[in-house]
Symmetry: C2
């Protein structure tokens, strides 16, 4: 079916793909097309309906490929990519106090190191199908410029601590820095700024409230690591007599614009609080497993209507930023711990990695699904590999068989950033050169430490 | 350092790679080389020691790559690849009785279908770094010829049931078929035959003993699904008054040449029995999670000296044959369920996927490590990707960051079967054509079933 009138102009037309929209009705077009104009999706529908309706500057053949929304990684510490694999399989406190903290003290205060880690992280995320990441780390004003160069979408959140951080003196100094940073990036089409408090055991109640107030003032997201493990729950209970979730509720900082990261150890009351306050949750199953923290009660949270997104966390704990790997682990984990083969089915896993993740961080007005008027953030996966055959069900394939290396095309804000698995904007050899320099310094530091 | 004498002839010399030998001392050469002659490894060592000592017909540059033993997948149902993704996220009995069994009844008795599935499986395994698989299914005589064509190493085990199977009448008829099959393949360099009994709840004690006797007669492996879930334990206890492991011990069929598949639900006595009888164990963590069966007590088994290998199981339950994915899940799973960050560390995971797996199936005299005199089964992974950088530790990288798509070169029995990620012997388009035909029939069958 072609239109009777003149074809409309489009910048990109992807045609004859299997189009998984993740829209409200979860429409799936076995043979579909998507038209893009500028940074926006112009049209989505059956290929035969769009055919002839659009005159596109660029057409992309989608045959034997799945086109879907770009994945939304709701929790990362991207600049920490410089520490990937530097310390693994150690007791938790030894890992943190003898390795991660000393490494951060030595290397995270140098902006060039963090830029190298962030660029590597963005390259890794784009090549594995992530088009949006929500990051918590330091130097967010300076690092936002690095993100902007790459064409990636992100929200960066400077982490507030009571103590000094690598980027500034901590406490109110960090808040002043964030206040200025948010203003600097308010108008940027791709990079936004949020506010983060590290955790309830490293940030005083007063400072948590101030940080949330700052986020409210700028109408942006507030995020905080919350109830990650039993130690944290015991510690907060000893300090304040309540669970970490109840503590934050008492402080009045839980609402639609707060993202609670981890939420592994939750009481029924905690779950009810998160649901009633419409707090978003970031779930990092691989990190929670690797650090032996437990399995977050995700099926219960979803049942109560909590928006649970998926985050890989930083590579220091999880070792990659691969969302396909993360959701496969997630789906298997909750079947095991729920003792049910039907829990966290493949469709729910894809929802969490796209539209529900977007809802958790307040981005669902612009991303998370392929719909007319939304930003053109989308990925296309090639099905022409032995592990992707045969093909019976799109959700099963995506979660249980396909992998990040099947992502062939990545479009962010209407720009093709990955084409035929090649990064279009980033110079990988320069990224590798910078990383090699930092890695050698880190290796030398570790050898010196071992020798002592 | 070069030799003083004449260089020796070699067929292949891989030079300047990071060589992870997995030999007794777990030697790792940061800059190493491996020489191959015919089907055997001629030499392994530092690159400067081998340089000049060998005149090779073919040299392969190993710079910035990890060379290691090919992965040993100790439990598959490879022909079932035709059913990948046909039924997921269903209650266990519905999945089995309403989907898998009807599919097998309709499609597994047609040899052409199984050939298509097996070829697809071998392509998938080779491209993901597996060089040896131990399979349990039907028509093992006919299907061995398919394996032989591909150049892959395998042991096939025809499954004995009390009832008829897709390939024959079951019981003694199956045993006669296996007896002939083993003779037919006794001299083949790559494909061997074992004997399998499906499980203690589908095979009578008498038939289990007969099957094991047949394996003993031919000095080959006997394998059986064992203690996969609580239902099986309850069932066997109701039938025989003991645990499945104790039942098999009572039958006298547990020894060094028996592979017990799954072993999820084990008592302390069961673990002791497996250790004392030197029974090998196949561990399939992703399948056990996806089917909500539980977490096998692998750390305890390893502590008692049991040889535990890794198997992906068939794709009907696990959806891929990816060993890298499997060992990452395995390492995370046991940290979670053991509540310890140090359990099943990256080195142990690689051991299980190589040398320990080879021990579990009685193949460690010829594969599982890179050592002079062993068969030349090895794989090389490219480190030139964002997710593989930086590089600090070879085990951490292999288990927590690298993935099957990083496997670039695969050598089996001295033959390069994958070069630059391209299959050298198999014609993928023919494999895909056959699979497409079977998949369309299966889809039509499923639609008819739904319509009823």
């Amino acid at each position: 079916m072609t239109s009777s009138g003149q074809p409309k102009n489009a910048d990109i037309l992807i045609h004859d793909a299997m189009v998984l929209t993740m829209d409200e009705e979860r429409r799936f077009f076995e043979n579909g097309s998507v038209a893009v104009s500028g940074d926006e999706i112009l049209d989505v529908g059956p290929a035969e309906e769009l055919e002839g309706n659009y005159q596109a500057r660029r057409t992309i053949d989608g045959r034997n490929k799945i086109l879907m929304p770009g994945l939304v990684n709701v929790h990362t510490h991207a600049p920490m990519n410089i520490y990937r694999g530097a310390a693994d399989d150690l007791p938790l406190r030894e890992w943190l106090y003898d390795h991660i903290f000393p490494l951060e003290a030595a290397f995270s205060s140098k902006l060039e190191n963090l830029k190298a880690g962030l660029r590597l992280a963005i390259a890794e995320m784009l090549l594995s199908g992530t088009t949006m990441f929500k990051d918590m780390y330091f130097f967010t004003d300076e690092l936002a410029a690095v993100v902007a160069e790459t064409g990636m979408r992100a929200m960066l959140s400077e982490a507030v601590f009571d103590n000094a951080t690598p980027s500034n003196g901590g406490g109110d100094k960090t808040l002043d820095y964030i206040d200025a940073t948010i203003r600097n990036w308010q108008q940027h089409p791709l990079v936004r700024q949020g506010v983060a408090a590290h955790a309830a055991y490293t940030v005083s109640p007063e400072l948590i409230v101030k940080a949330k107030d700052l986020a409210r003032k700028h109408d942006t997201m507030f995020s905080i690591h919350l109830s990650e493990n039993q130690w944290e729950v015991d510690t907060i209970r000893a300090m304040y007599g309540v669970t970490p979730v109840k503590h934050l509720e008492n402080l009045g900082v839980l609402d639609r614009q707060t993202l609670a990261i981890h939420c592994v150890i939750l009481s029924d009351e905690d779950i009810a609080i998160l649901a009633n306050t419409h707090t978003g949750v970031a779930h990092s199953p691989q990190c929670n497993m690797k650090l032996a923290n437990g399995a977050a009660p995700v099926p219960d949270l979803l049942k109560k209507g909590v928006h649970v997104g998926v985050g890989t966390d930083g590579v220091a704990s999880n070792n990659d930023l691969d969302m396909f790997d993360e959701i496969r682990s997630m789906s298997l984990l909750h079947k095991l711990t729920s003792n049910s083969t039907t829990v966290l089915n493949a469709r729910e896993a894809i929802e969490m990695a796209t539209i529900t993740g977007a809802k958790a961080i307040g981005y669902d007005d612009r991303i998370g699904s392929l719909e007319k008027g939304k930003k053109a953030d989308m990925i296309m996966l090639n099905l022409d590999k032995p592990h992707s055959k045969p093909f019976y069900n799109v959700y099963s394939s995506l979660v249980y068989s396909l992998r990040s290396s099947d992502v062939e095309t990545v479009i962010v804000n209407g720009e093709v950033l990955v084409d035929q698995r090649q990064l279009q904007r980033m110079d990988l050899s320069a990224v590798y050169e910078d990383i090699e320099r930092v890695a050698q310094e880190i290796s030398a530091f570790q050898r010196r430490k071992q020798a002592r």
